[in-house]
Symmetry: C3
Subunit: 139 residues, 3 copies
Amino acid sequence: MPVATRYLALESDGNCDIQNITDQVRTELCATSLRNGTVTVFVPGATGGVTTVEFEEGLVKDLREMFEAIAPQGKRYHHDQKWHDGNGHSHVRASLLGPSLTVPFCASELVLGTWQQIVFIDFDVRPRSRKLVLQFVGE
Amino acid sequence: MPVATRYLALESDGNCDIQNITDQVRTELCATSLRNGTVTVFVPGATGGVTTVEFEEGLVKDLREMFEAIAPQGKRYHHDQKWHDGNGHSHVRASLLGPSLTVPFCASELVLGTWQQIVFIDFDVRPRSRKLVLQFVGE
Amino acid sequence: MPVATRYLALESDGNCDIQNITDQVRTELCATSLRNGTVTVFVPGATGGVTTVEFEEGLVKDLREMFEAIAPQGKRYHHDQKWHDGNGHSHVRASLLGPSLTVPFCASELVLGTWQQIVFIDFDVRPRSRKLVLQFVGE
């Protein structure tokens, strides 16, 4: 079976909630019959993103401060002036970070570094139920 | 056929022209015989990028303002001092956003969110003819 | 063989050392038996990233200045206050750029633009030995 699709259901607080999803991705990898290939972690939605980080409290704060510096919540966004949902900053942050991350796996193990975790970041301004897509392609 | 390569020809205005290419990617997906897998949308060029966004006029402006804040056109770039093509800001913006986006598809449908579109951003300073690569891998 | 894993050993100076790894990726592609597919270039580590750029001296400096503007080395990072390794800026830059880049190949050739090279950026604050993962998936 060269392709296996799995889903990851998450409850997020929004407002730059950063969640470590590494263990869930590992669990889903083991549930497939694939040994070597890539997994694409994808956010179907325009206000969330995926990346990796050394997941510790300090860096979680530092990441939030970096996104606040790049696209401040208090700035006036054209999106908000038209749609009034107050999440213009969420959208531009998500577009910059990107909705997609592709991680190789070998012998059924993700090739992550020791201090490197996969994180989902919810930039939206309210709690949300999210369903990420994990697309495993390989052999 | 596990791999299918398609090309997307675009005419761009440059200067942070943001184009919604979702329908074209969908059309090309249907033209392959693949049902499940991933499509990598790739810009062969150093002044363009790909991401997703809720494609509406306000956010298109907001994205442009974010890139102008990150890498202002008016700044002095070492690239321009040497090569005089005036697109130093285009290059660094493109490198930051990245030339590549990988989107899963299932049952011949892209797994995008309802308000999420795939966009090509041309950061260069002049109109250009572009040919994006769509690499479908799956089953 | 639909999946081929290769490794790229690099010696880096750190401190935003930007290395052109295009030729090495091409060499490894030729060493596989794959003709069409994608290669995911992945950094197993939380202080490095991958992207593409027109690799010339001016842009290398411009990229460094952009990252310094986004996440200045002199800022106080929560990570450093707790762990004292002085690389808080390295981590947030790496998370923003991302550890992963996926490039299509056709007829055993990467589909890069003429002036587009694949680069590894080491954001860490000291020289490091790195081993990147190249995951080739295709036919």
